[in-house]
Amino acid sequence: MSWLLPYPLLSAALLVLWLLLNQSVSSGQIVLGAVLAVLASWAMAALRPEKPHIRRPGVALRLAGMVLIDILRSNIAVGRIILGSRQPGMNAGFLSIPLELRSRHGLAVLSIIITSTPGTIWVNYDAAQGTLLLHVLDLSDETAWIRLIKDRYERRLIEIFE
């Protein structure tokens, strides 16, 4: 089976993408989409990327829900800073966090979480030392940010990917 579907999740995602783009679940579109999804996963296999292992799908779902709520909250927080403070961005600063997460996929997901959340930006990751450099718009409480990244996101990402 694995020669046909080297990346079953990727193929499934591509098929769903195809059906959504065509806005149809007719049998013709399903066949066409399935053929394209399998061909694309063969092309992906030729690149031989490291295969991600999602060990805890339940944790992944919970993390996704938490991130959505955090994005909403930080939208409000950043909006307040922009509109409310007289000198917006005066508390901004860099923050360096040592990470235990080493999985490339986990780091990629963490970078998406951090950049999609307004108020925090992923600036640099030092792979040799495992330190992450962030820029935070409101750095009045450094330990709260470190706790947020390490306890809320990193711990769960390690559970999911490592």
Binding site: L20, Q23, G79, P88, F94, L107, A108, S111, N124, L133
Partner: protein, 123 residues
């Protein structure tokens, strides 16, 4: 648009509300671009538009066309997925370019590199 005539009032109101919320949030983000003073602080502002701003406008679009065509129109979710997956690439590229330049110029406001700057992005 001729189609707006068939849109029931509740759907029209809800769509308008979603669009207004999305547009307002995106506007606040753009204002931030104007009001914030340093480059690194400025990069934060547009993310308002790429998160809640985008989600709200897309929800309005999905609602409007689902009601008009009396079937679920949800392919807007693809826009959300692609924007969310690609924004970090652009933002990280900009932030790292700025950091690299500032370190080269020896600006004290940015943290210095402990060792040589790692050039490989994660993932």
């Amino acid at each position: 648009m001729s189609a707006t005539g068939t849109l029931p009032a509740w759907a029209a109101l809800l769509t308008a509300f979603c669009l207004l919320v999305g547009a307002t949030v995106t506007l606040i983000g753009s204002l931030g671009l104007l009001r914030l003073r340093t480059f690194y602080a400025r990069v934060h502002a547009p993310t308002l538009g790429t998160t809640v701003g985008m989600a709200s406008i897309l929800a309005g679009s999905a609602l409007c066309f689902s009601v008009l065509e009396t079937r679920p129109v949800v392919h807007e979710v693809l826009i959300a997925v692609f924007v969310t997956l690609t924004t970090p690439v652009t933002l990280m590229l900009l932030a790292r370019a700025a950091l690299y330049r500032d370190r080269r110029e020896g600006i004290k406001a940015v943290p210095a590199a402990d060792v040589e700057v790692d050039q490989t992005p994660p993932g």
